[in-house]
């Protein structure tokens, strides 16, 4: 029988296996050792590895990022956690001015093996400062690698890759993905950077999802079956480097591309992917979806207009394939049960 783990369990297992394998792996950040253990992702680590390897930190994001870099120079492999990606805005100086540049600026004399874990918040009125997804800011910067796994399988494999990588890695986890369950092998394995994953084959339109939007794309694919549209769903998995070839091959077939960003779209991953395809002379129709270009409001009546979802994706795809037909709405009764999220925040 398949071994099923949840997304946080997969992260936990990857971390534990790597900490067992390599005593230079340490993990620190606000709350890593507290009763909630970063929503379970650090459960048992303190007990197993002790407080020298697993520790809480003061609320000092810039300083602690610098500490992680310095510890990496001394030969450790630190993992530093941010329970919200929004808090990374306090650490941009160390991430961009230092971590991303240090190896290059010093002619390659050393390695900076740090992993920065960043959780994205959504729903239940978390609001403007607890819902951001600022990966485009990191994609613009040379010297950083970025993972956005959406499945438990990839969460484990990407975490192992990240910890073993000798460069700064930003590892992005969406809190709604924490409800995902799936097959995760017990053994250690790694998932490579720069390889997107075709999650479901199709021939009519290519849906590229990023982070939690992969799940929405998969749901949209189900809705679209109702109107005989066969969508191919691609999970980018890695944003730096970016796997354009997989997207290109899919779009060569479908000639239609919808990129569903889990972020604001201006200067976003979608713009980059589309531009690269255009530079390669791929002929296609394209659409971008992503956050409404405002801060995230808290009222549910507004928040529902802020995010793309399966229904909007399906409607968009239908309209793209049937520009002259009248608007279609998926029959939501048919739908996959929605996951109810209401904390812990």
């Amino acid at each position: 029988m398949e071994r099923i783990l949840s997304y946080p369990e997969a992260i936990r297992e990857a971390t534990e296996q790597e900490m067992l394998r390599d005593s230079s792996v340490v993990i620190f950040g606000q709350g890593v050792d507290d009763p909630k253990r970063i929503l379970g992702t650090t459960k048992g680590l303190l007990e197993r590895f002790g407080s020298e390897r697993v520790f809480d930190t003061p609320l000092s994001e810039d300083g602690i990022t610098g500490v992680a870099i310095g510890a990496a120079l001394a030969g450790l492999r630190p993992i530093n956690t941010h329970i919200r990606m929004d808090f990374m805005l306090l650490a941009m100086n160390q991430i961009i001015n230092m971590a991303a540049k240090m190896r290059y600026m010093f002619g390659g004399v050393y390695r900076v093996p740090i992993v920065i874990r960043a959780l994205i918040g959504k729903s239940w009125g978390q609001g403007a400062q607890h819902s951001q997804s600022i990966y485009p800011l990191f994609m613009n910067i040379p010297g950083l690698k970025i993972f956005v796994p959406s499945t438990p399988y990839d969460a484990k494999g990407c975490m192992i890759t990240s910890i073993r990588d000798d460069n700064p890695v930003i590892f992005i986890e969406h809190r709604l993905l924490y409800y995902q369950k799936g097959y995760v092998p017990e053994k250690s394995y790694s998932v490579p950077f720069g390889k997107a994953r075709i999650l479901d084959k199709g021939k009519d339109v290519t849906l590229v999802g990023i982070s939690q939007m992969v799940i929405e794309c998969l749901r949209a694919k189900k809705y679209l079956q109702e109107v005989n549209i066969d969508a191919e769903v691609i999970d980018m998995v890695s944003l730096s480097p970016l796997d354009i070839d997989t997207v290109k091959n899919s779009v060569m077939k479908t000639e239609k591309l919808i990129i569903v960003d889990n972020a604001w779209t201006v200067c976003g991953a979608g713009s980059e992917i589309i531009t690269r395809l255009i530079e390669m002379d791929v002929k296609m129709q394209v659409r971008r979806m992503g956050f409404a270009f405002v801060p995230c409001p808290t009222a549910p009546a507004l928040e529902q207009h802020f995010y793309p979802d399966a229904k909007k994706i399906a409607m968009n795809a239908f309209n793209m394939l049937n520009p002259n037909k009248k608007e279609w709405q998926p029959n939501l009764e048919l739908s996959i049960e929605e996951i109810e999220f209401k904390g812990p925040f």
């Binding site: 009763p35 306090l90 239940w124 009125g125 403007a128 925040f345």
Partner: protein, 318 residues
């Protein structure tokens, strides 16, 4: 006799309003009508009340996501707050901010923030503005002990002292940042020791006595209005009774002792003031406040419809 003519009455009215409002939030929370994470002040209300009762209406306050107490103490505007928690356009932030982003410009609440430490430099900048405009209003900046960890806290202290700004910093030291006890974050838990070298007057009140807080603030604010004193720092030791976020207790988590909290419950300033108040007046206050609370929740429950375009409003001032 009008309610609020004596200090005891004013304290009681404000403390009772805050405590009871939050207790109602606790009750209603499981219904999912409140569409927002809530960080309750239950047990800590005396800090906001003690300080704010010593202010003028045109004085300014800045605070944090744990801001219900400060908001209500300064504005009393229950309808706008509860509507905000419900995610209604009738809320103080038009339902765009939720519990963590309360504002009332007319009453001098300049907004609370969900990022720890972020309103501290804002409050300093506001004080700079007041000084520049030769206003005699004063700014009070509320924050928790966790904010002291952040670099921007120090940058703000340094700048406020350098410019001798009319501001009172109030640190509500409940000794925890989420579940992180102070000893996991600093060598010492005395925050005054960590700021007095900036060249500012400091005061630490350890026993939660609302009168001490009020009297200290009253004196300091008068001096601050005269402009030359420079910033003042007040550390109030206190205790959060509920979990960090949400309506429940959290003793089952095991990160802190129930006894810690018991001491503070025995020392509850609301009880103390109730005992000191004239019983008849207190009962009158209670019935008025209960009525206000019922009214505010009813108001928030009313259906209000958002215009579809509302999500795109308020990004820029045109």
């Amino acid at each position: 006799m009008t309610i609020g003519s004596t200090l005891i009455e004013r304290f009681y009215r404000s403390l009772y309003l805050i405590r009871r409002t939050e207790e109602e939030i606790v009750k209603i929370y499981p219904t999912d009508k409140i569409k927002s994470p809530v960080h309750l002040s239950i047990g800590q209300e005396f800090v906001s009340v003690g300080v704010i009762e010593a202010l003028r209406c045109d004085d300014i306050v800045f605070g944090t996501y744990r801001g219900h107490a400060m908001y209500l103490a300064k504005t009393g505007n229950l309808r706008k707050m509860i509507s905000e928690l419900y995610g209604k356009i009738t809320g103080c932030s038009k339902g765009k901010g939720g519990s963590m982003h309360l504002v009332d410009v007319d009453k001098g609440v300049m907004g609370t923030s969900a990022i720890v430490g972020t309103t501290i430099p804002l409050s300093v900048g506001y004080a700079l503005g007041l000084k520049y405009k030769k206003s005699d209003s004063v700014v009070v900046s509320f924050f928790g002990d966790g904010a002291v960890d952040e670099g921007v806290f120090h940058e703000s202290m340094n700048f406020a002292a350098l410019k001798k700004l009319p501001i009172l910093f109030v640190c509500e030291n409940n000794k925890y940042a989420i579940h992180s006890y102070h000893i996991n974050r600093h060598d010492s838990d005395n925050i005054c020791e960590r700021v007095k070298h900036y060249g500012m007057q400091v005061e630490r009140i350890e026993d939660g006595d609302i009168f001490k807080i009020y009297n200290f603030t009253k004196n300091v604010i008068d001096s601050l209005r005269e402009r030359d004193l420079g910033p003042v720092f007040l550390e109030c030791v206190t205790c959060r009774w509920k979990e960090h976020v949400g309506p429940n207790d959290d003793f089952h988590l095991g990160y802190r002792d129930k006894e810690e909290v018991e001491w503070w419950k025995a020392n509850d300033q609301l009880n103390k003031i109730r005992m000191m108040a004239d019983d008849k007046t207190a009962k009158l206050i209670e019935s008025v406040v209960e009525h206000e609370i019922a009214d505010a929740f009813n108001f928030a429950e009313e259906n209000t419809v958002y215009n579809e375009k509302e999500i795109y409003e308020d990004l820029f001032k045109e």
